[in-house]
Amino acid sequence: MPFPLGAAYALVALGFVLVLNATTAVNFAHGESVVAGGFTAVALTFFLPPDLRIPGLILLPGVVVVTAVLGLAIGALAYLPIRNRPPVSVFVTTIAVGMIVANGLNATFGAAPRTAPPLIGVGTIDLIGVSISRQSLVIIATACVLIGGLAIVLQRTQLGRQFRACSQDPEMARAIGIRLTRITLLSFALGTAFAGAAGLLLAHQFFISPADGAPLILKAYIAVVIGGWGSLRGAALGALLIAVFEVGVAAISSQPLAEGLLYVIVLVVLFLRPQGLLGEPQQVRA
């Protein structure tokens, strides 16, 4: 069942797009933000009474707060000072932040994978005759709740409208009184918190190690390109597609072949449909 991983990828990809839309820049530290979320969960576990078997999901608020602060730091250090330079500069500064986070965690926790407590219990549940692992269900459910929550915030709240206004025309957003810098930093906080939540969700079922960031950012990046640059719905769908593809193709051929084919498909998609599968050509204002 590729869906737990797909659900986590979707969270990562959505966080990536949130920042992308706010800054038109790629946040290459986003994969490391997932790792930071996972390690926050691992670290917070030390404060839980060890024998009570407290569900790992209880760590979610803590992980979200810590990674949101990390997001603020990324925005403030790696984006705001160079917001007027070409987006490529942000690419480089966030690569630097990624190095700092990954190697900092590596030096502190070691390179070995870690695991966080199970999100809720262990074992499997019978669901219409199919036995599904409890962890997978919780991962999917939590991701759905977070994604649904984000959709509601973006569609129905004033904050969400401000997010979207800033991403469509930042200068005009300021000209109607929106505090652009604040919204930009909030995008970093929210986007990174989504990555952090994904880290927590992954940490039990899939473990987390300091080097996990690079493959994750690559997946998120690909998901966003396949789903259509800047499209939130596309990013979530792209992430699911990648997970289904990876698992499906690996199950009938082999893992390296599945991975290689994914890269070939990215190149083909970029060649044939640079606007992605769901993206529309940018509407030009007359």
Partner: protein
């Protein structure tokens, strides 16, 4: 001698003395490695620095070179004279193959595509065990051997690597000569105007990408013959990050930057040894700080020797010669239409401009004037209709080719890179006219006095003149001027008027868009008024301005 050159000479000399007399064998190894990275970084400067494209394939080209030399060397005992050129060729071949789908992509897509390519090559290296040796890689790569003569480790190898690095510097210097550097600058800083210069943007990017691949392959070959083993490490993203860090920290544009970046980042682990595992954290902090505080790297910080030339005093002594008879081309637009979303920007526009004619276009904002200019010059494509220049159909020709064919334009805001001098600008525009005399053109436009000043420092009125001069320097047959009088004082507008008149007398067909009727009326031979994408009046200025529809549309004189 300027301080920068002397610094380079002293730095280089000091380094040579250190390598010859003071460096331990371990130090020599580090210096050898630095030399290899110099080649890699010089290559990366073409695409990342000059072309301004974030390629993440430089590590992959390095790995490709490494594997080519590694396989040929260890499996077939091939000599350096065979492995080296083939390594370069392998990297260039892959670059050519992927450049068709990849090079036209926008920045973030380009980055992802080059990253995907790198990951693909890494995957192949790991999993194609029979050929690549899999994750273990291949050992037993011979040292550098040339015609049977084998280079010993230590000083001989060090010298050899730095000789190659020196050659790479020469190639880099030759490729980035003044003219091409200027073309790259135009492409990077005023992308809108690149084609107006007649510069083929995709060709320039292609060249930069191939050069980066060639240098990457060369560096990979050197690395493998130095290390004597090849492994997937050479293809890992770590190499790319190292290269990127060296380039950003050292500097993106110049040879000194490449040398400083490579030397610094290879020696930093030694100096930061006390940090142990936190070393890479420190490198991350260094990279971040450099981008934020020193966007042009250490080389940018050292750029103290740069003096800006002062305008020569004798403006008045510029001798004006009459412009040569450059002839003209008839420009015809038929049935042009263009929609943007729900808005009709152009609606069945027909226009003919004969050599020697100045046609003025007026109309309220949003009437489609700039859209018309964009479609004529190829920077936008029409949904329907044709454009011909001197009988040639140029409707679907690429923008840069239209410029080369003899239809050039100016922009509402002059598109002139701030760092380039006026003379540079004119030279790039004349790149396809090797016989053209830059000074003569500058003299005709009364620009000799400011010829060596950076465009960023000259007054707006003169910038307009430079912009027109740039458009004329390529000896076009037709000219599209987009608001050449905007923001100019009446005197400056008078100068531009006189200029236009002379050009028309020499046979050019001129389309002139402006709002300023007072400026247009005495200048143009014909006037056209547009509204909502349509031409609503076409005739002598007097007739057009007297037309009630024009009065209504443009001046809103009729009350509501």
């Amino acid at each position: 001698m300027n301080p920068r050159n002397s610094l380079m000479i002293f730095g280089g000399g000091g380094l040579a003395i250190y390598a010859l007399f003071f460096a331990s064998s371990y130090d020599q190894r580090l210096l050898t490695l630095s030399g290899i990275y110099v080649v890699l970084v010089l290559g990366y400067q073409f695409i990342f620095g000059h072309a301004g494209a974030l390629s993440l394939a430089q590590g992959a080209f390095f790995g490709l070179g490494a594997y080519t030399s590694g396989i040929l060397g260890s499996q077939y005992g091939a000599e350096f004279l065979v492995t080296f050129p083939l390594s370069v060729a392998a990297a260039v071949t892959i670059a050519v193959l992927v450049s068709i789908p990849v090079l036209r992509l926008q920045s973030h897509y380009f980055a992802l595509a080059t990253l995907a390519l790198s990951q693909l090559l890494l995957l192949i290296a790991i999993n194609w065990e029979p050929v690549t040796g899999g994750a273990n890689g291949l050992s037993g790569v011979p040292p550098v051997r040339i015609l049977g003569w084998q280079l010993a480790r230590g000083l001989p190898l060090l010298s050899f690597v730095w000789i190659i690095a020196g050659l790479a510097m020469l190639v880099s210097y030759w490729q980035i000569n003044t003219a091409r550097k200027a073309a790259f600058t135009v492409m990077r800083e005023t992308p809108l105007a690149t084609a107006a210069f007649g510069i083929d943007r995709s060709m320039l990017r292609f060249r930069a990408f191939l050069l980066s691949a060639a240098f990457g392959g060369a560096a990979g070959a050197l690395f493998v013959h130095t290390n004597r083993v090849v492994s997937p490490e050479t293809l890992s993203f770590g190499v790319m990050i190292t290269c990127l860090t060296m380039t950003v920290v050292g500097g993106r544009f110049g040879i000194p930057g490449a040398v400083i970046g490579a030397l610094l980042l290879t020696h930093l682990p030694e100096w930061f040894r006390g940090l142990q595992e936190y070393y890479l954290v420190a490198v991350g902090v260094l990279l971040l700080a450099t981008v934020v505080f020193a966007p042009n790297g250490i080389e940018g910080l050292l750029r103290f020797g740069k003096s800006s030339p002062k305008p020569s005093a004798g403006t008045a002594t510029d001798e004006k010669s009459e412009p040569a008879d450059i002839g003209g081309s008839e420009l015809i637009a038929t049935h042009l239409s263009k929609r943007y979303g729900g808005v009709r920007a152009l609606d069945d526009v027909n226009l003919r401009i004969q050599p020697g004619e100045i046609v003025g276009v007026i109309g309220p904002n949003g009437a489609g004037k700039t859209t018309l200019a964009n479609i004529l010059t190829g920077s936008a494509t029409s949904d329907a209709g044709t454009v011909t220049l001197a009988g040639h159909d140029i409707t679907h020709a690429p923008e840069y080719q239209i410029a080369q064919l003899g239809l050039t334009r100016t922009f509402q805001t002059p598109q002139l890179p701030a760092d380039l001098s006026v003379r540079d600008i004119i030279r790039i525009a004349q790149a396809d006219r090797p016989a053209a005399n830059t000074d003569a053109v500058l003299r005709n436009f009364n620009l000799l006095a400011v010829a060596d000043m950076p465009c960023g420092t000259i007054a707006h009125g003169i910038r307009r003149r430079v912009e027109v001069c740039r458009a004329v320097a390529a000896e076009p047959g037709a000219l599209v001027l987009d608001e050449p009088g905007a923001g100019l004082s009446p005197e400056e507008q008078g100068e531009i008027s006189a200029l236009c008149r002379t050009l028309a007398e020499n046979g050019l067909a001129i389309l002139l868009i402006d709002h300023n009727v007072a400026f247009l009326k005495p200048l143009v031979t014909r006037m056209v008024c547009m509204e909502s994408g349509r031409i609503i009046a076409d005739g002598t200025p007097e007739d057009v301005l007297a037309d009630p529809r024009v009065q209504d549309a443009y001046f809103g004189v009729t009350t509501l």
